[in-house]
């Protein structure tokens, strides 16, 4: 901002120069305030102290540890422990509450669902899928069709003991025989068409009629006389549109000839009791819980 000023009594004092001069250009001495300089020194001291207190100076194999003995790994372990301690009351409550009564306590339910979701993602989603919709050979957990039962206690038992898991004596076990060689190919064909008829699909009436007798002799024990299945034996229901290994003619024939079953590990011993309960509660409320 330019303004004209009349002459004054006293001219402002000549500014100080540092004494540096380049080609006639002289450097003003505009010193910093003292406190500013102190701030700089304080920062330097702080910086040095910091490298002494915390891991900093690189050595041959590792850096100096620092007198405070700080490590981010230990911090992590500490905070995990801290959260576990904080949750211990809820864990205890979860163990003492009947599974069917957990939903009465909003906080406990919230804890179980969040924990269960985490357990599911870490341990179950590999086979059952991130959305729990399963795939061929791995059951869909969202629908209302359950091989071994969909109540909280049933799900809990399945998670704890697994299915056909060698390591657990109490595991859920069922085995369908392979009928290849045991039944003639045309007999198998007629059973296939009987099963297609049971599930309301397109079929050959003649074949399915002759298949009814073979079904009653060989299959009804586990799958039920009307094809409704048997949860005690883990015999799948054949009357609905939900198939673990596929419901097409070829897929059914393949299953009858060679038999198919997969294994689910027992999680007791791998997961804590609280985690098993959490994941059971989580799976139960995915849409198919009974």
């Amino acid at each position: 901002m330019k303004r004209s000023r009349p002459a004054r009594d006293s001219a402002p004092p000549e500014p100080e120069y540092t004494g540096h001069e380049w080609d006639g250009i002289r450097e003003y001495n505009n010193p910093m305030p003292r406190w500013w300089l102190w701030t700089l020194y304080a920062s330097i001291i702080w910086g040095i102290a910091y490298t002494i207190a915390y891991p900093a100076w690189p050595l041959l194999t590792r850096a100096t540890q620092g007198v405070l003995d700080y490590s981010s790994r230990a911090e992590l372990a500490k905070s995990i422990k801290e959260f576990e301690d904080r949750n211990s009351a809820l864990d205890l409550a979860l163990l003492e509450t009947d599974l069917t009564a957990v939903h009465l306590d909003a906080d406990l339910l919230d804890y179980a669902l969040r924990g269960g979701a985490a357990v599911y993602r870490a341990h179950c989603s590999q086979c059952h899928g991130a959305g729990a919709s399963g795939t061929v050979g791995y059951p869909n957990l969202l629908d209302d069709d359950w091989l071994w039962g969909g109540s909280l206690d049933d799900i809990y038992y399945t998670v704890a003991h697994g299915i056909r898991s060698d390591a657990d004596e109490d595991t859920r076990f069922s085995q369908m025989p392979a009928y290849d060689g045991f039944l003639e190919p045309d007999q198998i064909d007629s059973v296939v068409h009987y099963v297609l008829a049971l599930s309301g699909q397109e079929h050959n009436p003649e074949l399915s009629e002759s298949g009814a007798e073979i079904y009653a002799e060989n299959c009804a024990v586990c799958h039920g006389e009307t094809g409704l299945g048997n949860r005690d034996e883990g015999g799948p229901r054949l009357t609905d549109p939900i198939w673990l290994y596929g419901g097409s003619e070829d897929a059914i024939r393949e299953t009858i000839r060679y038999s198919r079953f997969s294994v689910m590990p027992n999680w007791r011993g791998r997961l804590s009791e609280s985690h098993i309960r959490q994941v059971a509660i989580y799976v139960h409320q995915l849409g198919g819980g009974e």
Partner: protein
Amino acid sequence: MNTAGTAPPRLYAPREPIFPRRVAGTFRTLKWWLLGILLAIYYVVPWIRWDRGEFLPDQGVLIDLAHRRFFFFWIEIWPHEFYFVGGLLIMAGLGLFLFTSIFGRVWCGYACPQTIWTDLFILVERMIEGDRNRRIRLWNGPMTLRKARLRLTKWTVWLAISVATGGAWIFYFADAPTLLVDFVTLSASPIAYTTVGILTATTFVFGGFLREQVCTYMCPWPRIQSAMMDEHSLTVTYRTWRGEPRGRHRKARVQETLGDCIDCHACVNVCPVGIDIRDGHQIECIGCALCIDACDDIMARIGKPRGLIDYMTLADERLQAEQSHLKDLARRLFRPRVALYTVLWSGMGLALLVALFLRPAIEFSISPVRSPLYVTLTDGSIRNSYELRIKNRHGEDAIFKVGLAEGSPFALRLEGSDDSTTVVQADQTGLRRMYVIAPPGSDEAAGGQFDIEVWIEDVGASTRGAKRTTFHGSGT
């Protein structure tokens, strides 16, 4: 390079101590009032109670960081509404531009915390050590018992003010009465003590010792303001044409040869930043207007009109010097940029108000679960899942009911509920799984995508909202 001279130049400049003299006048009175009001607001606001129901805090103004809620009396802001805070900050910024382009550094001179607390600290200093001359004598004098006692008293009062200042800050972030008890009984969080400690230290040092150095060296605002002011902004200025040549008026002399300035240094003595306003516009000047009061007082005593030092625009000062015709002050201050800032500022304010009043009665969202898109059930029906998030902004638990439009071919169900109602806890967002089911064999079950509308009712408040979403049949 040529190194002339032998003595090495000094690398630091010691601060020149400033001893502002007491002053009385229009602007000083105005500033005392502002100081009182602003300090009262700062200290008192966290203690105002405001009933919001059983499960919400009853503090009028509360920034609840732990629960991510901001309460301002009847307004409650959730994190997804942070744009309100953003909008207010933009308004604050534009407001500063607006005020600066009209009134110059009015923020620095009247409302800035640094100015307010420095004023308060100087007041304390003056009450304990006396006015300017006595303070200078005390400063220059040797260290005596009296000097030590006065200084210690002053520092103690300063420290008390600083602790109160730092202490008041934390009450905005937690329930004030509870926190006060916790704080005094040493059971408050370490964060509270650290915050109070830091703010106490900064208040004590900034108000007591750094004072004008904060404005001159540390604050970016003076630099920004120099860019925003022009010769049509009001500023505290000396009427050079009227005052010069300055000199002592003596009765014997012919006064016509001298200007109105009697060179009494009243304006210099009261200045809290230690400048001579007669040297013209300077970056150190915070526009506090105390020199106007001081000079008006002198002018009254020597029988001259007030306003040798005054608020005016630099353009006016030049025009007056040339004795040109001046337009009306309001018209001179009103410039295109003022109009622009006003429009932007009030536009922002209006937008925020509209947004505030248009906040939906029920806030909820529906997001379809896409993994998997649909599930086949044993009876052949097709089911879609949705994540339903309901925000309960009441101070108590509330029941919400969801449903589909009448005549819809779909069925709706809420997980864990038999009648499509759910209770959401007070002041929480409830996450529920919602199912929409197409009956077996229907066109919808076998078809592709369908638009559906889901309504939700806040049963207690009888308010309703609706949202559209998509249903995927097995043909997708």
